[in-house]
């Protein structure tokens, strides 16, 4: 696209290259903070009255509007900053903060948002939002990883029908006597059924052994934001087993499972702990 005068063309080129430079700065900040600001505008209102002018005190009220997104969460902020300039110093105080977030399914966020609004803590809001979203994405990836790598084994397992646990002792004897090699599942997959009850962005993962469908482990993974804005994962294990199994459990393994899981998390970390948990389900019948 050429213009008739070369001067105009030069400034247009400058404009474009300058714009390109600014846009790459924007991309850098967006990656660094994890926050993409799409729109921003500000209006100022001079609140200085004649009395203050005499004492050389200036008061300005700024009204800011900001919108953008942090991955899949979009936000819209409106806040006011009161700037007071006197002889010694300039003070800037956020006097009002309103935050609208979407989607609203993340229940942990609504409490956090009202806390941030109350405290008018804009910086903490953005920082915690970034980490919260990162943890949610990590949780989603981890759960999906385990879901993909599990499923009923392709060959060898005979008991895909639900086990009726009426005669539990006889059942366990039968399982013990069965040849273990028959139940060796293909190496790539865990012989367990992983189910995400709440869908892709689920906060819990249910693991059911295909050999012993009466047993189910539900791992609940919540991402919490504490009073000071620190984002922490909180994992819990909820085991489920048939009544008769509980009666046989003299070592109280099932009762102490949630605590043991916490200890396991501390030692192995989240991924390894979940993996060992899933693996332990299929060997449970043979010990």
């Amino acid at each position: 696209m050429y213009q008739s005068d070369s001067e105009g063309w030069a400034s247009s080129k400058d404009l474009r290259s300058h714009l390109g430079h600014l846009e790459s700065e924007l991309r850098f900040l967006s990656t660094l903070t994890g926050i993409s600001i799409r729109n921003y505008s500000m209006k100022t209102e001079d609140l200085t009255n004649t009395e203050k002018k005499e004492k050389s005190i200036m008061k300005v009220l700024q009204r800011h509007r900001l919108s953008g997104n942090c991955r899949m969460i979009t936000f819209q902020l409106e806040f006011q900053i009161l700037e007071i300039q006197n002889k010694e110093s300039l003070s800037s105080v956020i006097t009002d903060l309103n935050i609208i977030m979407e989607p609203t399914e993340y229940s942990e966020l609504s409490e956090f948002v009202s806390r941030a609004e109350e405290r008018r803590d804009l910086l903490m809001f953005f920082r915690s939002l970034h980490f919260f979203v990162e943890w949610c994405e990590y949780r989603k990836r981890t759960f999906e990883h385990f879901k993909e790598r599990s499923g009923p084994a392709r060959r060898g397992v005979t008991s895909l029908q639900p086990v009726v646990c009426r005669d539990w002792e006889a059942e366990t004897k039968r399982l013990h006597s069965r040849d273990r090699s028959q139940d060796q599942c293909t190496k790539e997959k865990y012989p367990a059924a992983v189910h995400l009850p709440e869908g892709a962005a689920s906060s819990c993962m249910a693991v059911q052994s295909t050999c012993q469908p009466g047993f189910e482990l539900v791992i609940v993974w919540r991402v919490q934001i504490d009073e000071e804005g620190k984002v922490l994962p909180k994992l819990d294990l909820l085991p489920k087993a048939p009544q008769q199994a509980l009666k046989l459990d003299r070592n109280r393994v099932l009762e102490t499972a949630p605590l043991s899981f916490r200890a396991l998390l501390g030692t192995l970390g989240i991924e390894a702990a979940l993996e060992s948990l899933i693996k332990s389900l299929c060997t449970a019948g043979y010990d």
Partner: protein, 263 residues
């Protein structure tokens, strides 16, 4: 009921033949109806097919026309007005981007790209009060290094950069953010104590540069005969603006009281 042999049986046969005739007529009629319906169906089928062909033809023609119109507009000589408006668009976009870049200070981290690398600006705040900003100029090279900065000397910058600068810039900057925000918060609180509660203080407020050790004497009533208390606040955790140890002594009798805000 028995049929009689002659007349009655003949009546029986005739009646039977009648019945058969009625049946044949009925089935013939049904067949005719069926054939008629089928004829209608096939006629409609052909009509549908014809209409579909017509529709496809019209669609193709519409597309062709659209393409022709598009092609013709491209070949038109650009006159002044669209060109200027494109520049206007770019200008407006530039203003928008500039404003957004300014707005990033509200996230805590903002900055700009430099010829060497990047200059990051860390903003601090405490309870809605916007406080000082600090900058750190990074040179993008292997290894990454700090060109210069405005971070106070008592913030453990070397320690933090040794841990994170080379491996994870984001973590390095977030960590620095934490320390600087906590320091700014402590300093703000100490300043407020000194200015707003001057009437309650007996003597000066003693503090170190990190503002994580404060010591002062205060009275419960600004005037009057109440006894002064000596307070000592220690902030062991440099990433928070709340003290971890508080000691209050009452002269003569030591009333020792500590609280820990962290385990």
């Amino acid at each position: 009921m028995e049929w009689a042999n002659d007349g009655k049986s003949r009546g029986g046969v005739l009646a039977h033949l009648e019945r058969l005739e009625i049946q044949v007529n009925r089935s013939r009629k049904n067949l005719e109806d069926l054939q008629r319906a089928q004829a209608i169906e096939s006629a409609l089928g052909t009509k549908i097919h014809k209409l579909r062909c017509l529709r496809d033809e019209l669609r193709a023609e519409a597309k062709q026309r659209q393409a022709r119109v598009k092609a013709s507009t491209v070949n038109v000589e650009p006159d002044q007005t669209p060109e200027i408006s494109e520049q206007e668009i770019a200008k407006r976009r530039k203003e928008n981007v500039k404003a957004i870049l300014q707005a990033y200070r509200f996230t805590g981290l903002s900055g700009k790209l430099t010829s060497r690398g990047v200059c990051v600006c860390i903003s601090t705040a405490f309870e809605g009060n916007l406080l000082d900003s600090y900058f750190i100029d990074l040179v993008i090279q292997k290894p990454l290094r700090i060109h210069h900065h405005s971070i106070p000397v008592f913030i453990p910058l070397e320690e933090i950069s040794a841990k994170y600068l080379q491996t994870n810039i984001q973590h390095f900057l977030f960590c620095l953010c934490e320390y600087l925000n906590a320091y700014a918060g402590r300093k703000y609180q100490a300043d407020r104590l000194q200015s707003d509660f001057a009437a309650f203080l007996v003597g000066p407020l003693r503090r170190n540069s990190l503002c994580n050790l404060l010591s002062f004497t205060y009275k419960v009533e600004p005037r009057g005969q109440s006894f002064p208390f000596c307070a000592r606040l220690l902030y062991k955790d440099l990433t928070t603006a709340l003290p971890t140890d508080v000691t209050v002594t009452y002269q003569g009798k030591r009333k020792y009281c500590t609280f820990c805000s962290h385990d």
